[in-house]
Each structure stands twice: as C-alpha cells, then as structure tokens.
C-alpha cells in the first residue's frame, strides 16, 4: 500500500471578491507530524485551515485527507471526514449557552453518541488534563479568563480523540507563562493521541516548542518549509525577517491598506 501524507494540499486558490488570499498553495503534513504555519497577520492562515475543514469553499485546487480528495465531496461524506478533525479556534469559540463541561462533551454527545453521564465524566477528565478543576466544568464560558477559555477549547478539541488537530493561534493574547502552559499542553495532547497537528502562529517561541516542521505563508504561497531546527539557517530572507521581527526587509507591511 502506498503511503499517503495525512493532509496533502495542492494548488489551493481562494479569493474573496477581487482579493486573492491563497494563490496556489502547496503543503503536505505527514502522519503524526506537527506542522506549524507561520506568517504575518492577514496572510490567510486561518483561511487555509477553514478551507481544509470545509468551512470555506476554495475556488480551485486539491485537498486530500488520507489520500482522499475532499473538495467537491457530497456534504454527508464530508461530515464523516470532519469527524477526524479537532479544531482550536483563534477566539476559543466556546458555546456560551452551554456550561463548560457541556462544551467539552459536545462532540462526544453529538458525534459519538456517548450518553450524558459518561460524557460528563470524560469531559471532567479532559478538563483535568488541561489543569482545570471539576468545579470549572459547571461554570459558563463567560465566567472564564482568556487563558482558561483557551484551555477549555483545547480540551474540547481533543475530547473526541481526533486524528488531526488544528490550532489557530493558540497562544495569541496570552501572557508568556500561560503561553508556555498552552504550548506544553498541545505537545502533550498531540503526543498522547498520536495525532497529526497543523498549527498556526506568529509567536516564534511557541512555534519552536510545538513544531516538528515549519512552513511560512506569504502572499498566498508557502515560500519556505523545513524542520524547526533549521529555521535559523533557512537562508530565506523572508523567514529571517519574520523570525527576527524586523520592520525592514523583503516583506513590506502594508501600513496603508
């Protein structure tokens, strides 16, 4: 049997009206690999994840999951494929009409048909694994701090034991210590599940901790990719400018949009 990458993206093209966001993007993520995509704000990193998840419809290109083309797939089959995914959203995206534990148990109850009592037990375990006490489970998401929300969202993303997990800027807006906590939790969860991870960040510290490989997105394309260890010797001026955070360099920030 041929070995497929877990996720294989070819020539992905996505535009919003006249604005081209992804312009022929190619990217492979191997089985149980942790890939981190870096890139400036507004370069289309979230759009990339949403295209793979089927939340946005790209204009053209190919996305294969386990070697199966998912673009243009009928909705019912697409929903089955989606059960392989877990996603941590940039803003946590917790359901604020539900208690914290119900958020974590949501996928278990809806997708896997686990009954509420068992699901609650699993949810409490998941909360514990991200360092939250059982009492937190009874709170409403509105009562949580930013760091706690991210941790709950992380617990929710991994609760169904997905094969593929996406993390969209998991540490943005958190203090350095909480960032480190989240990074460690991500590494731990991904390792324990043996999952394939695709993360997005513009926090280089975080990228170095969670990545096996790093890819840089610029102007709708992956302009560089390689193992995380080689990132300081990439020889790519764009990557150098980005990881050192310099205003001067080949990447021109559009100050005036």
């Amino acid at each position: 049997m041929k070995h497929h990458p877990k996720i294989s993206i070819r020539g992905l093209y996505k535009a919003f009206g006249p604005k081209v966001v992804l312009d022929g993007l190619d990217l492979d993520v191997g089985v149980a690999e942790s890939m981190v995509v870096i890139g400036g704000s507004g370069t289309g990193k979230s759009v990339l994840l949403k295209c793979v998840l089927g939340l946005l419809e790209p204009e053209s290109g190919s996305i294969k999951i386990d070697g199966v083309e998912v673009l243009g797939m009928p909705t019912s089959e697409r929903e089955k494929i989606n059960r392989k995914f877990g996603m941590l959203f940039q803003g946590a995206a917790l359901f604020d009409s539900l208690a914290v534990w119900e958020n974590v148990a949501f996928g278990l109850i809806r997708a896997q048909g686990v009954d509420r009592i068992a699901a609650k037990r699993i949810a409490i375990e998941n909360l514990a694994s991200v360092g939250l006490r059982p009492e937190v489970g009874e709170l409403s998401p509105a009562e949580l701090s930013g760091g706690m929300k991210k941790r709950v969202a992380l617990a929710r993303a991994v609760a169904t034991k997905p094969e593929i997990i996406f993390f969209d800027e998991p540490t943005t807006g958190l203090d350095p210590i909480m960032s480190d906590v989240i990074d460690k939790l991500i590494v731990k969860c991904v390792h324990e599940l043996g999952a394939t991870a695709l993360s997005i960040t513009h926090d280089m510290g975080s990228a170095r901790k969670i990545a096996h490989r790093v890819a840089m997105l610029h102007m709708g394309k992956i302009i560089w990719q390689g193992p995380v260890a080689g990132i300081d010797r990439s020889g790519n001026p764009y990557v150098d400018q980005f990881i050192n955070g310099r205003a001067e360099g080949p990447i021109q920030m559009q100050v005036r949009a």
Binding site: L55, M87, F89, Q90, A93, F95, F106, R156
Partner: protein, 258 residues
C-alpha cells in the same frame, strides 16, 4: 450616475438576496423534515417564543380589542348599527389583528434576539465550531427555531384572539353599556370557523417568516458587533415587511375561496 445602471444594480442586488434567502429556506426546511431532531432545543425555543411572549402579546391584544370596540362604535353609531360592534370586534381580531399584532410583537422580540444570538455565534466562530464538532448548524440552530416559530405563533394567536375579544367585551359592557349576554351572543352568532382558521394559517406563516429572517440575518452577519447590530435591525424590519405582504397575500387567497 447613470440612473438605468443604478436601477439595474438595485435589481440585481435584490435578485441576489432573494436567491440567497430561497436557498437558505430550502436547506433549512429540508433539515426540518429529516432526522435527527433535537427535542430539547425545539422545546427551549417554543418556551421562548410561546410562553415568554404571552405578556407582550396579551397586553397589546387587550388594548387592541378595547380600542376596536370604541372605534367601531363611533363608526356604526353614525348609521345606527351599534349592535354590530361585537361582531366587528371578533371578526377583526380573529381574521386580522390577532395575527398581525402578535406577529409584529414577536418579530420585535424574537426576530431580534434570534438574529443577535446567531449573529454573535457567527462572528465569534461558534457556528464554525459546531461544524467541526460534527453538528450541522442548520439542524442545531435553524431547524428548532423554524419549527418553534411555525407551531407557537398559532397558539399565541388563539390567546391573542381570546384576550382581544375580551377587551372588546370590557369596553362594550362597561363603557358602552351593552347587555353582557347580548354582546356575547353577537360575538359568537356570526363567527365562522374560517375566520379563526384563516387567522391561524396567517399566524403559522408569520411565525415561520419571523424565525427565518432572524436565522437568515444572524447566520449571514459579518463584521463584529456592528454587523450583529445590523443583522438584528434587518431581521426585524424584513420580518415586519414580509409579514404584512404575506398578510395581504393570505387574506386574498381566503377572500377568493369565500
């Protein structure tokens, strides 16, 4: 500015919106008809639309019935037909004002809150999160609201009819000095099944329209808090307009089958 071009653009824009709403309606209805259904979610919406709207709908229809008695008395007194007041009140309430008043009140109350809730879920990516947790947002958010709107509005309108007629009775008996028994007899003597039935058909349609507009505008809201605000306004305004348009349409259908 070329006026013809402007006209064309407006027309195309209108057709686009009409197409999007039709598609949304089609998908939403197809989810209403196919399992799984979520009984607790439907129940919660029914409670919200039906039970918690009772005070608003009750008060507005009470005063509507009361003013109807006074105004029709003024009119009919001019050709000595005061006796028709009770009949006019009950026919106006059941055929027309019960559904319209309840519909407009619920549009303000429920249409707005649906659009705000779903709109907030959209801009905070909660709707995207639903899909990634193997839950179809149409099934989870839209279908329960449509089902609840469609079923609860007729029940609310029955209450509105009764309270409105009662308001007319209060004014008729205590202010206009009708004999209570005669007023009640006049109320029911000329009331036909079709009067109440046509009102309930309207109510069902209105409930559906209100939920549909609330969900549609919420679902398609974008651009943060401001976008949600816009969605809320659009939901209420479009539901109110459509409601009055359909009100005329349904009335005409029943008029033709008299």
């Amino acid at each position: 500015m070329n006026p013809l071009a402007t006209l064309g653009r407006v027309f195309i824009g209108f057709m686009q919106v009409a197409g999007r709403i039709s598609l949304f309606t089609f998908v939403a209805v197809s989810h209403c008809l196919r399992p799984p259904w979520y009984p607790q979610l439907i129940g919660r919406q029914m409670l919200d639309i039906g039970y918690f709207s009772l005070p608003v709908v009750g008060l507005t229809s009470l005063f509507t019935g009361m003013v109807l008695a006074l105004q029709s008395y003024t009119g009919f007194a001019r050709f000595s037909a005061e006796g028709a007041v009770a009949t006019v009140v009950v026919l106006s309430m059941t055929r027309e004002l019960g559904p319209v008043i309840a519909g407009l009140m619920v549009a303000g109350r429920i249409g707005a809150s649906m659009a705000a809730e779903i709109g907030t879920m959209r801009v905070t990516e909660q709707i995207d999160a639903l899909s990634t947790l193997a839950t179809n947002p149409f099934k989870y958010l839209v279908a329960p609201r449509l089902i609840a709107g469609l079923t609860m509005l007729p029940l609310l309108v029955i209450v509105a009819d009764v309270i409105g007629v009662f308001g007319g009775y209060l004014v008729g008996v205590y202010k206009l000095n009708f004999n209570p028994a005669a007023y009640l007899k006049r109320t029911f003597d000329f009331l036909e099944f079709i009067d109440v039935f046509s009102g309930l058909v309207k109510a069902g349609a209105f409930g559906f329209i209100i939920s549909l507009m609330g969900c549609y505008h919420g679902y398609h809201s974008e651009g943060g808090a401001q976008g949600v605000g816009r969605a809320t306004t659009n939901a209420v305004v479009s539901a109110s307009i459509l409601l009055l348009v359909f009100n005329y349409g349904i009335t005409e259908i029943f008029f033709a089958t008299r």
